[in-house]
Symmetry: D2
Subunit: 401 residues, 4 copies
């Protein structure tokens, strides 16, 4: 049933899809149900209410769309913008690149602000563009909160500050695919108009649900946006929300129950504790990278990502080989370097349902892998650095005190 | 964990989502995996090869899209047509209506051929329109193979015959959502250009995968079709097919393994045996309806559907009440009447992984329900009629002989 | 993965192992855990407390033993009796026969009271034996509450009355394997000293847990009972109960969580409702048998069993053939006739997590089977009789009102 | 559903119950089945045949008993010995102690050969006892292959040599609970008469199946052994083996399918590779212990166990505290010190379905724990030592080359 079995557990350290908690796997282990029975709307109602908490919004309207992150992007864009609309979009890695590609193919007038891969969004340029745009030709600022390809987290509060400073009415659209529910994200406080994530990321579910949350301003914009859309049209959802049946087309029953279980676990742990755990895992990983004498692809501390670390290998090493051997020899799944950084970085995802000892096992594996491919790492050095930090910082598991 | 528990099994007789076989539930009971490892392409390759068999095509190109049937429709249309293109589309029930609505919202020039609900597509009108269209303004003929709302199966071979007769180059687009893998469907023989289904129908999986199959002519058309599309764009798939990695964005690992298990079961039973089983269940259901003295919503035998039967209730009964009480009292999930036939029909789905005794339990339940709501049914009459037929027609289970 | 796959669900109508509810399957879908962690004793404590409710005892001490019903028997006997002790035991079918065989092999002096198969325990003989036993040589009265082979339920309250009438101090040991949690059973009220069941029966779990409940008098007896025992010795359990760790050897983590889920479902439905549901299913089955013109193996109404019905076939039919064909053709699992009634009866188990429509599907299948083997049944007749009764008696599902 | 949830996976490093592979969890995720259908004997037949391979026997007869290791012990003893029979039994730790206790309670005349905990069985004393026993009063030599409490592996080939040397006909009974299928074990070559294990150990299944294998000599002995037994009596199994239905009482359907999947995985990896993997994990653990400056409870290399390592803590540390904190803080389950070594050792189980990175995560956790409780460990030291060894010794995963 598995295509390539290895003994023991697979160590899944790609930044998505991530490890699913056992209680969530259990919750999804079920037959289909009629989604028109009273049970499914009752369940959906709790999900729509609770999912807002992970966006930190009380005013937003969530949509649980049977799609992936790519579809969630399309939903965010086509519901709020019209062909020809000018967007500002930051190109800082493979996923921001793909979103820009989508924006272009959807016929927006994309004003690309590019940075070197490993840097964050250039907000100075955003400032100057906003300053110059008294005519308000900019209809939306589109930004990836956390660029999964390079491990770069952008400071969204600064974007909001700039928009406010220049009193600019542009919509603020955020790809939170590898951030929301793992990094600090505040939809209402930061005035985000559309935020989105995918089920297989911090929520630690299977792939298949794009979660999009729209501010009142975004909902308003959707009434006049002229981008062609049907499957992704919020209007159909809103119609069924009003009717109390919620679904314009068939949802995945399994993902609904899975999301219920996932949210329950997150709230049981505490959202702030979840974010703190990601911070611990991020710090521990970076300390290990430093101890190995390797460079983080992320160029400045302010952009460090707590969900994924892209590790730069020396020029004489092919990072792809590390990923391949990890899988072949250690049952370890690491992230490849993508596009511009292919062969140059490998990525350690520390996202989703994960704890410290899982990460330490991964780090030990990476040390052996580095040695395997000829890098003169001191075995144990990264683990030692991570442990020294973690040993002083891991709290007791609240439910077990 | 369940929102409204009832003792014993839920009797799921809506025409989708349908019952998932236990081996498929098992196959999907798993953690996420890195979809960029060698295992997932190896698995995907077998799926793309084998899924063609259920479409009966050797020349088609399948796409396994993380979406629902609605998304699969959109994929079929936007990849092959351009805004303003004239389509002929048959309005015969709620699902054909929704597809037409989508076509209109995607800015095609939809030439709607309407029939009374309960009748099949009016192919005489198609003939006259084709005859009149020497200029070939018709770019596509769009037809729902099996209208799930009324239980009407259209004769696709006739559509092909007409297209051939008039040597008309229009694309032939088929919604096979509630037909493919349950009813006789022959993509290559009937010259279908795009056929599609959803995972939660005859394949008996959870919702979440739209399966679209394109003929070489459809692929060719996609090169020039100007409908805006990104998420649904076949081009991205084809690019990754060439690279051998197959996925432009993250697939659901669980659905891939689930599809593998589902196809294995179908091939183990034999596709023709699966179709024959649906025919048996359809016949048995219709005999029961007749024995109850009720009318089939489908007006002529030539349109009888072997995957769903819409039963017309007398005017003094509200069919919605039957569905509600079935759920409240018998743990039975029947299909509601939709739109024009709301309150007038209830639907028995006999689609997907189902056997005769399951259906007989449902029919017995319907008899009690009919009595509950005041219809003077003779208890046991429908079951007797169904049994009399089935008793002579059920073969031994091949694997158990 | 399945050895002999058939399409659709298997219709499991043997009187054990029975259908497991989906929520219980889910609860058991888990990795192992350290049973010495604080979590497992916390869970166990709730189980020991709650399992007493299904025995209707407040004074009993339950043991959850990793064994089957046969092991539970042995636990009941060896902890309370010494070699050579006189027991009175009723032989009324295959399972009481096997228990007697065990008693004999354990070197008790078994005073067998035999009845014709299809009759209940002969309590008149018990009365006379008790009357004659002023010396109290009888150490235990052993009785099967519900004989699974013939579908005979004994009246335990009468046994208690006799013991009281003759002021006889004999222990009262009850095999409740196919009764407890499905039939009316009152450990405290009826002064039962040891009662037992197996997880795969009315509790609707997998096989593997023998549940034994001992009265204070039985516990007292265990202190002096000289039967050799180690694995089944209550003393080891009691020692660990005192320590609060509960387990003298490794329990099945999965069955513990499964039992938790099973009890939750039972309490959610209500134990009295569960018993009423079994009564409905028993009545419906007997009405069908009558409509078919067949005889119930149970000779008098006072012994009718609400968990299993043994149906007598005409002499010209081999009941084994019915069971075989049910499995080969209808994916239906019926119970064979055992030992003396082999070939003469087949059994319909209506035990555990089951609802009315499931039973009706089974009854329809049996009708076809009867016809298949040459019995001139009127198709639909049994279902009609069952429906006529059920239609007036099934309550709304409480959680769905 | 979990009693004390912690984020991420539980790190299960007790020497049983051990981690269940995902494919095995999947295989057991199923409803009950009628064990009297043709499917279950067909499945059982393959199990009985294949389970012999893990015992390395062609002449042995296996029994799959619904019980635990304690029950398997009782099965081995009661089927082969009579009350009063003299056994030689080695007391070297808690589990050998418990077996001896059982032997005494079963009324054998147990000749206990005691060693200090941390040492292996004293075979010199065995030799002298055999030498002195020309009257063949010794009926059985009972030995625990791997003492789970202290991590001591006895050399069974030497026991056989001694028996042969003295031409002694005593039965050779082996507790292989924490060895068989993980350590080198050769039933036929070493002339073992009864060997046994439990499902929750190296087979990596849930608890609930005791697997006992009897040599022809043991089977012969069972014909005359006078120990009282019913549930554990091999005779009942042999009777049903002959009939081809295999089961004297209801087996756990789930464990049967689980065992099938577990054996498939073991054979896919290769039994010798499984044993080599355990050797790697044992070596790595011992190197870590050494690097930490701690003592292995096992006093000599010849007794080192590849399935569990008992680590001795300095006198000023309570090892129980380490285990408690591991669970409370790191979601790590370590084994407690038992009885004589309570508080003095903690145990790392490296048994069953486990790979190197899992172990390294555990070792990193232990390092932090040691520091937590005040032991001046150099963080990273154990992991470094383990990695240095593993990096040179882990082979590529065969299926992934």
């Amino acid at each position: 049933m598995d295509y390539v079995y290895g003994p023991g557990r697979n160590h899944l350290f790609v930044p998505g899809p991530v490890n699913i908690p056992e209680p969530v796997i259990r919750a999804m282990n079920r037959n289909n149900e009629d989604y028109r029975s009273p049970a499914v709307p009752a369940l959906t109602k709790t999900l729509l209410e609770d999912v807002k908490k992970i966006f930190k919004t009380t005013t937003g309207t969530p949509f649980l769309i049977p799609t992936t992150g790519t579809g969630a992007w399309e939903s965010a864009l086509t519901n709020t913008l019209s062909p020809g609309d000018r967007t500002i979009s930051f190109l800082i890695g493979q996923f921001s690149l793909l979103w820009i590609d989508q924006q272009q193919r959807l016929n927006f007038n994309v004003d690309v602000v590019e940075s070197e891969w490993g840097q964050g969004a250039n907000l100075d340029i955003l400032a100057s563009k906003l300053a110059a745009d008294s005519a308000h030709t900019i209809k939306a600022v589109c930004i990836v909160h956390n660029e999964t390809a390079t491990g770069v987290t952008n400071d969204l509060s600064k974007v909001r500050k700039l928009l406010d400073e220049y009193r600019h009415p542009a919509l603020f659209l955020v790809d939170g695919v590898s951030s929301i529910c793992a990094l600090d994200f505040r939809m209402d406080e930061w005035g985000v108009d559309v935020a989105l994530t995918g089920s297989q990321k911090a929520l630690s579910l299977p792939t298949g649900m794009g979660i999009v949350c729209a501010s009142p301003k975004a909902l308003e914009a959707s009434k006049t946006a002229r981008s062609v859309r049907v499957f992704f049209d919020w209007k159909d959802y809103l119609k069924f929300y009003k009717m109390g049946t919620f679904w314009p087309y068939t949802p995945s029953i399994q993902l609904l129950y899975g999301l219920r279980a996932a949210l329950d676990l997150i709230f049981e742990e505490g959202l702030e504790n979840v974010i703190a755990r990601h911070s611990r895992l991020g710090n521990a990983t970076r300390l290990a990278v430093e101890a190995w004498g390797l460079k983080n692809c992320t160029q400045k501390e302010e952009w460090y990502s707590n969900t994924v670390t892209a590790v730069v290998v020396p020029p004489y090493i092919d990072s792809t080989e590390i990923v391949k051997r990890g899988w072949k020899r250690y049952n370890l799944s690491l992230g490849l370097g993508l596009n511009k950084v292919a062969g140059k970085v490998f990525r350690i995802g520390h996202l989703g349902n994960l704890n410290e000892l899982q990460l330490l096992g991964c780090l030990a594996g990476v040390e052996m892998l580095l040695k395997d491919v000829g890098y003169p790492v001191k075995l144990g050095s990264g683990v030692a650095a991570a442990c020294a930090y973690l040993q002083n910082n891991i709290p007791l598991i609240p439910s077990r005190i």
